[in-house]
């Protein structure tokens, strides 16, 4: 077990820029990937909880919070938001070769970037609102050989140990692991702070490092649309809602409803 000096503990928080959850999303006709141009981009909501938790740990016992994001150039807005909440520095993994990466490829690029940072604790939001797979934290932990403490509703660090409450269907498990470790958090864990004027002004002066595939030592063939394990062959817009069936009740309405439900295999 590695003893971590809490005052120099380095926390890396992974954040993702996603299309506004409430906006209508479309695929780009050219390659069936998400059209990021046509919708407002925001920080994935659960990642705000991850940033908040990192800041609380830092406030409680010192150390440094680095925010890491992989995404196109506009993802700097999301890094800046985390910096304006209080994170100390940012790392932006950006490369045209990453376009269309699936979860497996994403976990590779993130793992390489985290490795370069030398993190004592890595924190993720437990899923993103656009992909909703919840697999990237586990994949990154596997690649880095770190203990994974997922779905955490509380996180405490004591010396070289991290202890979390892992939410389950029936309550929660108390899980403990030596540092370095990887944690993913659920929204029950805290109430994320707003940025503040002071944070926004300070964020301008905080360092943001930009890394490409070459910097990470990742080969172009390992990531991107070409390396994806699945292919979106075709997509069609959901058909508009059809007009409902109207039954005029001449005494046989009940039977008509039963016939309808039966035809739909509800009864």
């Amino acid at each position: 077990m590695r003893e971590v000096d809490s005052e120099t503990m380095k926390i890396v928080v992974c954040v993702k820029q996603v299309p506004d959850s409430w906006a209508e999303k479309t695929l780009r006709p050219s390659d069936n990937t998400l059209d990021r141009e046509s919708v407002d981009a925001v920080m994935n909501e659960l990642d705000e909880y991850a940033v908040e938790e990192a800041l609380r740990l830092q406030e409680a016992q010192g150390g440094e919070v680095v925010v890491l994001s992989m995404g196109p150039s506009q993802a700097t807005d999301t890094i800046r938001k985390a910096l304006s909440m209080g994170a100390d520095a940012g790392v932006h993994v950006v490369d045209d070769g990453l376009h269309g990466s699936d979860a497996v490829a994403t976990s590779l690029a993130l793992a390489k970037a985290i490795e370069a940072q030398g993190a004592d604790l890595v924190i993720f939001g437990s899923e993103s609102t656009d992909a909703r797979m919840s697999v990237v934290p586990a994949m990154v932990a596997e690649r880095l050989g770190l203990p994974q403490l997922t779905f955490s509703s509380s996180v405490a660090v004591d010396g070289g140990t991290v202890r979390t409450n892992r939410v389950t269907e029936y309550g929660y498990d108390v899980v403990e692991a030596p540092l370095p470790a990887l944690v993913s958090v659920v929204e029950k864990i805290n109430e994320p702070r707003y940025p503040s004027f002071k944070g926004i002004m300070a964020a301008k002066k905080k360092p943001v490092q930009t890394l490409g595939l070459a910097d990470l030592g990742v080969a172009a063939g390992e990531v991107g649309l070409g390396a994806a394990w699945s292919v979106v062959a075709e997509a069609a817009a959901r058909p508009p809602k059809a007009k409902g069936t109207i039954v005029a009740d001449d005494g046989s309405g009940g039977v008509a409803i039963a016939d309808y439900l039966s035809a739909q295999k509800f009864i």
Partner: protein
Amino acid sequence: MSLIMSRRDLDFLLHEWLDTGALLQRDRFAEHSRETVDAILDLAELVATADFAPHNRAADLAEPRFDGTTVHVLPGVGPALRAFADAGFLVATADASAGGAQLPISVFSACMAWFQAANAATSGYPLLTMAAANLIRAHGTPEQVLRFADPMAEGRFFGTMALSEPQAGSSLADITTRAERQDDGTYRLFGRKMWISGGDHELAETIVHLVLARTPDAPPGTRGISLFLVPKHLVDPDGRVGERNDVVLAGINHKMGFRGTVNTAPVLGDGAFTPDGRPGAVGYLLGAEQRGLPIMFSMMNEARIGVGLCATGLGYTGYLKSLAYARERTQGRPVGAAPGGPQVPLVEHPDVRRMLLAQKSYVEGALALILFASRLADDAETLPDPQGRQEASSLLGLLTPIAKSWPSQWCVAANDLAIQVMGGAGYTRDHDVEQHYRDNRLNPIHEGTHGIQALDLLGRKVLLDHGAALGRLVARIEATAARARGADQAGTTPADAGGPALADLLTSTTRDLVATTAALGALGDPAATMADATAYLEAFGHVVVGWLWLEQWLAAHGRQGPFYEGKRAAATFFLTRELPRVGPMLALLRAADRLTLDLDPDVL
């Protein structure tokens, strides 16, 4: 898309029209950039949406309650104000040396548009507090700043402006609250105040009232008025809140709208509390004796633009809500359509579109007016050359009564149309627009009534100034018109090629206004000159907003897409359908009509 405010319009006005990027180059704003301005506007939207809007209706339905001792306000108000303070909005424009962010006033106004539109009543508390703190900072002693303004900047103390009395509202010359000087340099105050917003509550550790009063030897009239700082609790030199001061409430006022802001009737020096063992509200002089009114009015530009901004926010959100309703709600068929066919959304009817376009031209025109006035306030402080600063200051002085009164009139009219668009639904409390209308109806009344603004504009800002500031305004209007005439005729649409026609409408009305001003000045009878000052104010306001619509038309010129087409349509609507209202008003003024001047009150 938010139904509170339009970020797209704010960005257009700040960046595509007012060139805020150039403003940010000035030394005072060195810490700011497009990036920080965007992030701060995001923050305003977030706090307004998440913390201010949700209790807007609840605060209207459960208005503040006075139990004979204390006022209780809705529980949601306190956390919202804490979020506002924690984010840094209370000190947004303040100097860095005072813990402020030195944000341009124009950008701050854009932020406040979100809060006003989300919840005007809750926004009232921080606005009063900021105005009072700014006044203490500008005119107080270092000790007063430390003891009172600094805790206000942190949101620990709140502030009020206590001017009016039961017998003296618009006529401040007639206030009678007495301030007696004590041997230790403090004062004891005795009297009654009225219409004091935020006069009591438990939202803060204490409340700092800025009170106008007379010293015993003061001359009558406005020149005998002094300004005092009267806290609800005495505050130790080390900042601890101590004993209750002799300020209590006679009661609270029950209003038509704006109910979330408690409105009070305070009593000073009635002996309800006896600080240091005797009755009398302990007060501290701000500035010098008998200089109270000029000090209070040094904040009046800011306060009056703030009222215009509140009116604008309420008008704007009502427009957005009625527009969303008109797009959704189907009702009736187009003229000539076969009966029995599908019904169309309200927005498909030309008369509904008229009401929406009228609202758009009022609320977007008002927002442009407020941001322009706010930019002048920035320019008056930060332009590099003294002459530029002086010109901005004089133009701001001229336009302040317009910035206060025009939105207060026309954004109430917009709320009226929002209700009309929504029909019976708009008249019910199931929808927000009836509350916006009631809330907004305050704005032509407070901080100097509509009629007072008219006297200020015509008497003080135009005639006493011998038309100097007016001349500078007219030169700017003519310059805009010249640019519109010269704008590339190969526009993207017919509306985009209409610059010369719109410019001609504006300049002919402006020249009419100038001629009318000269005629009024030459009447030789002040009573006759001022009798219809309100018609002058309203005509003047339409000319100014018409000018700003032509400015917006130019900023949108050559740009394509629904947003810019909307700007052109609203500019065309305002200049072709609204500006012509001015002609009969100016004709009335030139005719020196004496109907109201000579009217025997007994015949009414």
